[in-house]
């Protein structure tokens, strides 16, 4: 089996990606894997999967996605791309259209069929009052830092968010 990237060497490292409900086997030679910083590991971390899929012509992030932020926790899609972690349950709504194909690639399926939570849990927007004041104090700290480091655009954004949250209190 030939390596998917160089298409010259024999592939020795295999893993599974999922695209349009089809399992796509990704085969890399050791050399290309090393170049991509993938060691032989039985399992790849999410950022590695994202990186590798992008290299194989399955782009995941396009320019306009970079600016989208979650209203509840402030996470930007680019931050998710770097760390592979979402910030809150609402992120799944905010980034739904971007996450859907990724989730299908990871799991090969797109619908939960297992246990369901007690029905009261279904609505999930905004924070409980209790967490609100803590959230505000956290944002204020970030605001100070942003002002100190002269990131005025970010500061303005944080200020607006603090005002918004203070209204809810």
């Amino acid at each position: 089996m030939l390596c998917n990237i160089c298409k010259k060497n024999d592939a020795t490292i295999f893993f599974k990606g999922i695209f349009d409900n089809q399992v796509v086997k990704i085969n890399l030679c050791e050399e290309c894997a090393k170049k991509k910083g993938i060691e032989f590991k039985p399992e790849l971390s999410l950022p590695e999967i994202i990186a590798t899929l992008s290299d194989l012509g399955l782009p995941i992030v396009t320019e306009n996605k970079k600016t989208v932020k979650c209203k509840s926790c402030g996470l930007a899609y680019t931050e998710f791309k770097e760390r592979g972690r979402l910030g809150c349950a609402d992120c799944y709504n905010t980034f739904e259209s971007y996450l859907a194909p990724l989730i299908e690639r990871i799991h090969g399926k797109s619908k939960h069929t297992g246990k369901k939570t007690a029905p009261t849990t279904l609505e999930s927007t905004g924070y409980e009052k209790e967490g609100l004041s803590q959230q505000i104090s956290l944002l204020k700290k970030q605001l100070n830092e942003a002002v100190k480091s002269e990131e005025y655009e970010k500061a303005a954004e944080l200020r607006d968010k603090i005002r918004e949250l203070e209204k809810k209190q």
């Binding site: 979402l86 809150c88 996450l99 399926k109 619908k111 939960h112 939570t117 007690a118 849990t121 956290l138």
Partner: protein
């Protein structure tokens, strides 16, 4: 250091002859089974985006919910920030917390665990709750039954983040859906010696399973011990995830047994026995030994026992030994901090003693 008593306690989930295992215990090949669920509280940012104060309030909520559950009525509750480094490491060595949780010093990491260590809940790891049940041998169904009850009980008090299409929501999209990981801790020296282990790993990937190291995700294998677990959490229900893993684990047991048969063939037998007796010799006489080397040799003894070699040890105590010789265990047992050299000497002494008995 306040967890000395725990370090001296035998690990319950390693004890052989599980009361009602799904399948018969197979030569100590499957050491234990574990089921883990990831859950998050709705309407709160995940721990990685919550400050310490918010994390501590999550901990309070979980602890108060825990109090309403009978199975957890005798559980210990720890804020990990109140424990020193050695205590936290001890909890990791006993597979009660992950490596990340043990090293999280900025947030508000917490742990709830029962006295027999069967049930534990990590609070504020990358998800608000990571709850697990560990049982001896191949018994994931038993573990799931208990864990399912605890999940139901907690859900009566706590609102979990749940998406109509994607199920339980987690910080990392690789865990959404059931939020469930089932794993078996397997001793596979036969497949390692016969060089078949990498082929097995490639095969696992194809059936939606994955192999992890001794301490779980992102850690390396020690002493030919691997955690085999499901890779996919969405689109299959909990029972079929467990059934599918069980089927594969049963065939891995067959492969491992086949590999061990090969080791008994003439051409290999002498070499393998020589190897095992050398390990026995080192463990019996060494005055100083590092953790990794010790586990490698103990793993050989475990193999030797299954090949019916005459070695003055029991399978049960061998499994316990793998855990008690780890660095934090040694320090908790002697009750003080030790340098690396002191640990190596203490470890060698502990092993020598346990081989004589």
């Amino acid at each position: 250091m306040i967890l000395g008593a725990l370090a001296k306690q035998e690990i319950n989930w390693l004890k052989s002859n599980p009361p009602a295992a799904d399948n018969v215990q197979e030569d100590g090949i499957v050491m234990s089974s574990r089921v883990r669920l990831a859950r998050n509280l709705s309407n709160q940012p995940f721990p990685l985006r919550a400050d310490r104060i918010l994390q501590l309030s999550t901990m309070d909520k979980v602890v108060s919910a825990v109090q309403s559950i009978n199975l957890l009525s005798n559980a210990y509750v720890h804020k990990l920030n109140d424990l020193d480094k050695i205590d936290r490491l001890l909890l990791m060595e006993r597979h009660l917390i992950s490596h990340e949780h043990a090293s999280n010093i900025n947030g508000g990491p917490g742990l709830v665990f029962t006295r027999d260590e069967t049930i534990s809940i990590m609070v504020n790891e990358e998800d608000h709750l990571r709850m697990q049940v560990i049982t001896p041998g191949l018994s994931p169904k038993i573990a799931w039954k208990t864990l399912n009850e605890i999940d139901d009980g907690l859900n009566e008090k706590l609102k979990f983040a749940f998406h109509p299409r994607w199920g339980y929501l987690t910080a990392c999209p690789t865990n959404i859906g059931t939020g469930m990981r089932v794993s078996c801790l397997m001793h596979l020296p036969g497949l390692v010696i016969t060089n078949e282990i990498e082929r097995l790993f490639n095969g696992l990937t194809r059936v939606g399973l994955t192999a992890r190291g001794f301490y779980g995700e992102g850690t390396k294998p020690l002493g030919d011990i691997f955690q085999i677990s499901n890779a996919v959490t969405l689109g299959k229900n909990e029972e079929s995830i467990i059934d599918d893993l069980g089927k594969v684990v049963n065939s891995i047991i067959r492969y491992e047994k086949g590999a061990r048969q090969k080791l008994l063939k003439d051409s290999l037998k002498e070499k393998v026995e020589d190897n095992i007796y050398r390990s026995y010799g080192i463990l019996s006489f060494a005055k100083s030994i590092e953790t990794e080397e010790a586990i490698q040799h103990i793993s050989k003894l475990k193999l030797g026992l299954s090949l019916k070699m005459k070695l003055a040890v029991k399978l049960d105590s061998i499994d316990q030994l793998i855990f008690t010789i780890q660095p934090a265990h040694l320090q908790e047992i002697v009750g003080r901090e030790l340098t690396a050299e002191q640990r190596d000497a203490t470890r060698a002494e502990l092993i020598r003693k346990s081989l004589i008995n």
